[in-house]
């Protein structure tokens, strides 16, 4: 296979505090292929949004990248000077955030914001940029785009605003779009529309997507592969169908069982006891060991690395260590 579009290797993000340094991301590695949609799931505090922020170089201080590398199409981007990183952001990586109100400037019309973004990154005339902007808005499903483009963000409803944000993220034709909880602030009936638009327009333009969400349903419908984060570490990564229907990591198994669905009939949901550890109290060995049903001695002392399980699947769990069968005999 060709080089992946995005390659994250052993990414470590730390927050120095006065009580010691907290490790919020601990040796996270994954790739995103050209045109692929990678879903990133995890509970709050698992580090999924931080991963996105680290990639686009927008970590909130005092957070910092303390190790690892991030490569965008063969070019290392985690150590770029801020000036160069700014050009990568927007031009090559587009962003869609949870709250559409904060990602649009309330003082400028949608046209002004779109045209400025297009002209910052692509060398076109004002007129051409406006034509492209109208085309984009039309594409993301804004009715009467040519007229509504001159409206201010507050003239749009929540769902329409998120469509504008998607148009803005795609204005410079980026190679990668990072969408951080793009539907969380929206109503159920609007969520599906937004996910559809995001998925279609990215596919059309060949942009890869990193979709960060806590909603497994959204991942199931959108992603090609899914990465499961737990306490800042990668627990499992693989094709979405495999992970959702036959999860291997005990955490993912528990997570899937705990989601009520419209079709299930069980009286009780499977539940994982306890809660994810705070960053200052991550246990030795596997971070999941206090809550794991399958825990054994090795989990308590040694941290499992991602183990290849065939078919692009990787699981960080000692249950799947090739040598384990040998030990058991």
């Amino acid at each position: 296979m060709a080089t992946p579009l995005l390659s994250v290797r052993d990414l470590v993000v730390e927050f120095p505090t006065r009580r010691g340094t907290l490790r919020a991301l601990d040796h996270v590695s994954f790739d995103i292929a050209e045109g692929e949609v990678l879903g990133m799931v995890g509970e709050s505090g698992a580090g999924k949004s931080l991963t996105g922020a680290a990639i686009i170089g927008l970590l909130e201080p005092p957070g910092r990248i303390a190790g690892g590398e991030i490569w965008l199409r063969g070019e290392r981007i985690d150590n770029l000077p801020p000036e160069k990183m700014r050009r990568v952001r927007g031009r090559r990586i587009g962003m869609v955030f949870q709250d559409p109100l904060t990602s649009l400037n309330p003082l400028y019309t949608v046209a002004q914001q779109l045209i400025e973004t297009i002209r910052t990154h692509v060398d076109v005339s004002e007129k051409e940029a406006r034509k492209r902007a109208v085309g984009l808005l039309d594409r993301v499903g804004i009715p009467a785009a040519a007229r509504r483009i001159d409206d201010y963000p507050h003239h749009f409803s929540g769902g329409m605003r998120q469509r504008v944000v998607i148009a803005l993220a795609l204005a410079a034709e980026p190679e990668l779009v990072i969408a951080d909880e793009p539907t969380t602030a929206l109503d159920v009936s609007v969520q599906a529309q937004i996910i559809d638009v995001l998925k279609e327009i990215c596919a059309e333009r060949g942009a890869s997507v990193m979709l960060i969400t806590h909603d497994m349903g959204v991942i199931a419908e959108t992603a090609d592969r899914v990465a499961v984060l737990y306490a800042g570490r990668m627990a499992e990564i693989g094709p979405v169908r495999d992970v959702i229907q036959a999860a291997e990591h005990p955490y993912t198994v528990g997570l899937m069982g705990s989601i009520p669905t419209l079709t299930q009939t069980a009286d009780r949901l499977t539940q994982i006891p306890g809660a994810m550890p705070r960053l200052n109290a991550i246990p030795q060995g596997c971070a999941f060991n206090p809550r794991c049903k399958e825990v054994f001695n090795r989990c308590l002392v040694e941290r499992p690395e991602l183990i290849a399980r065939g078919g692009k699947r990787h699981v960080a769990c000692w249950l799947y260590e090739p040598m384990k069968e040998a030990f058991d005999v």
Binding site: E43, S44, S157, G158, G159, M160, D187, V188, S189, V190, Q191, A192, Q193, I195, D196, H214, D215, M216, G217, V218, A220, E221, V240, R241, I244, Q245, G254, L255, G257, S258, I259, P260, T261, L262, T263, Q264, D267, R268, L269, T270, Q271, I272, P273, A275, M276
Partner: protein, 333 residues
């Protein structure tokens, strides 16, 4: 039919959203009202879980707040165990108040950060004067135990707990006055899924143990489906459909219910092709005339634009849609 514990009739709440008086005079604007709940009728039977689902602006939280007395209804009547709830009469309400409780959405806001957990849980016991002295401490320990925490947690402050544990504390507080009826306003929407499962299971167990009746407010259809016996679907302040939970999901009668079900992402990866939902919720200050859902409805007829449909009997309950031909619930006046 089993006994009705709570019934709501013609419940309506209007909010005055007018601009200040001087602005109205200068800008020549009328007073504006937002009708958050309009003419809502339903009954909750003893021991069941009745759910109200709806999107933002549907009025589900407004209805919950009116039932527990946090908001005064503009019109309509709430009866609890046959008695009309009149929150203005303090003395008469005291005995009734002990019998219902509420669990809130945000466990980070629902516990006073300056109070110890033991005092938080004991507040209803002290307010209703149910116990005194050392008995309160023992009861708090028992309640903490009941919700899966330990009696020694009574000494701690809320910030020492995770979101899920805080919601357990909130549940212990709600149970401390030994209520029969608990209004649960989005009890898990601020929690992660794995914690949500713990809380939902706990609520189930407590219901079985104490014969509790729940009113569950949620926007999450999967949660509602899992928890409830009967479901009311709200759209822009009106109840569009009420049905038994299982039947609602198999055979939704109202087009809005069907649309809402279609919008739920499919975790089973069955390849079910979802019908994309059209449009968004209109501004509740100026709802569309007639049936409020008509601008988004795929089956819209002329009559829908003019008259508000009355609820009619269906196989599974009632629904308010001009397409339906069942018996009207209320006799025409």
């Amino acid at each position: 039919m089993s006994d009705v514990l709570l019934s709501v009739e013609g419940l309506t709440r209007r909010f005055d959203v007018s601009k200040p008086f001087l602005n109205r005079v200068f800008e020549r604007e009328e007073r504006q009202f937002l009708t958050a709940a309009a003419d809502v009728d339903f009954e909750i039977r003893k021991g069941e879980t009745f759910a109200l689902v709806g999107e933002s602006g549907s009025g589900k939280s407004t209805i919950a707040k009116m039932i527990v007395g946090l908001l005064e209804p503009s019109e309509g009547e709430i009866r609890f165990d046959g008695k009309v709830m009149d929150f203005a009469s303090g003395a008469a309400m005291r005995a009734l108040r002990r019998r219902f409780q509420m669990i809130f959405q945000d466990p980070f806001a629902s516990l006073n950060p300056r109070w110890r957990v033991g005092d938080i849980i004991a507040e209803p016991i002290r307010t209703f004067g149910l116990m005194r002295g050392a008995a309160i401490g023992r009861e708090v320990g028992r309640l903490l135990d009941l919700v899966g925490l330990s009696a020694s947690d009574a000494e701690k402050f809320p910030h020492e707990f995770s979101g899920g544990q805080r919601q357990r504390i909130a549940i212990a507080r709600a149970l401390s006055s030994r209520p029969e009826f608990i209004v649960c306003d989005e009890p898990t929407s601020a929690l992660d899924v794995s914690v949500q499962a713990q809380i939902l299971n706990l609520m189930r167990d407590l219901q079985d143990e104490f014969g509790l009746t729940y009113l569950l407010i949620s926007h999450d259809l999967s949660v509602v489906r899992h928890m409830s016996n009967r479901i009311g679907v709200l759209y822009l302040g009106r109840l569009v459909e009420v049905a038994e939970a299982k039947k609602l999901f198999l055979d939704p009668q109202h087009p809005y219910t069907r649309m809402l079900l279609d919008a739920v992402p499919d975790l089973a990866l069955s390849g079910r092709r979802r019908v994309p939902v059209e449009g968004e919720i209109p501004n509740p200050i100026n709802p569309p005339p007639g049936c409020a859902f008509h601008p988004r409805c795929p089956h819209v007829m002329d009559v829908c634009r003019r008259t508000i449909p009355d609820p009619r009997e269906t196989d599974s309950g009632t629904a308010a849609c001009h397409l339906l031909t069942g018996q009207p619930v209320k006799a025409a006046v």
